[in-house]
């Protein structure tokens, strides 16, 4: 099946709602002194959420003004599915390997830092795997 997609009004509304939730929850956490521990170099969790909210405002604004018609065809969908399956499989094996690793040399890293590394690695792996598969198909 072939298809065409654009940056839709629906996805833009979803982004705006998400940004609002981030900023409002950040402000509320600060207001009620919840999450006053340092997080990623920010003095409070609220400040961190507000920062992420403003970064998303910037990204969404740039996306909105540079939007162009984007074609997603069946080959791209096939590549996306294959990449997702590969990433998921690698994630499962990596998670298992980490469980064993933790049993031998306990991981002392903070959970927030650890999961950030994990997510970044997965995104990087996804991008590389997509490009590699794109050359094959």
């Amino acid at each position: 099946m072939t298809s065409k997609k654009v940056v839709t009004k629906k996805s833009m509304i979803f982004r705006i709602v998400f940004i609002t939730v981030l900023i409002v929850s950040g402000a509320l956490l600060n207001q009620f002194n919840v999450g006053t521990n340092e997080l990623f170099g920010y003095s409070t969790v609220g400040n961190y959420l507000i920062f992420i909210g403003f970064v998303m405002v910037l990204v969404t604004t740039i996306t909105y003004f540079t939007k162009r018609e984007k074609i997603i065809d069946e080959r791209m969908e096939m590549l996306r599915n294959k990449t997702m399956t590969l990433t998921f499989t690698v994630f499962i094996f990596a998670a298992f390997a980490l469980i064993i690793w933790d049993g031998i040399w306990p991981i002392t890293m903070r959970y927030s830092i650890f999961i950030s590394y994990a997510v970044c690695t997965m995104l990087l792996f996804y991008g590389i795997a997509y490009k590699v598969l794109e050359r094959r198909y």
Partner: protein, 64 residues
């Protein structure tokens, strides 16, 4: 799967981009099809056959 897309496209004097625009896919997909790397769905094969003014899908796509 082998294809005669490039041959028929040259006959019709249309570029990969033009053919891609007609059948609603990316130029990379047409390139991939021409190189025999990707096997299209029946719908896409049908659209390409029509775009190249051929009657049968078998005229354009040949099973190995």
């Amino acid at each position: 799967m082998k294809t005669k897309i490039r041959e028929f496209r040259k006959e019709q004097k249309i570029t990969q981009e033009e053919l891609a625009a007609i059948v609603d896919v990316t130029r990379q997909t047409i390139n991939s099809l021409e190189q025999g790397k990707y096997n299209p769905s029946l719908e896409l094969a049908y659209k390409i056959t029509k775009a190249l003014n051929k009657d049968k899908i078998e005229d354009v796509f040949i099973m190995d």
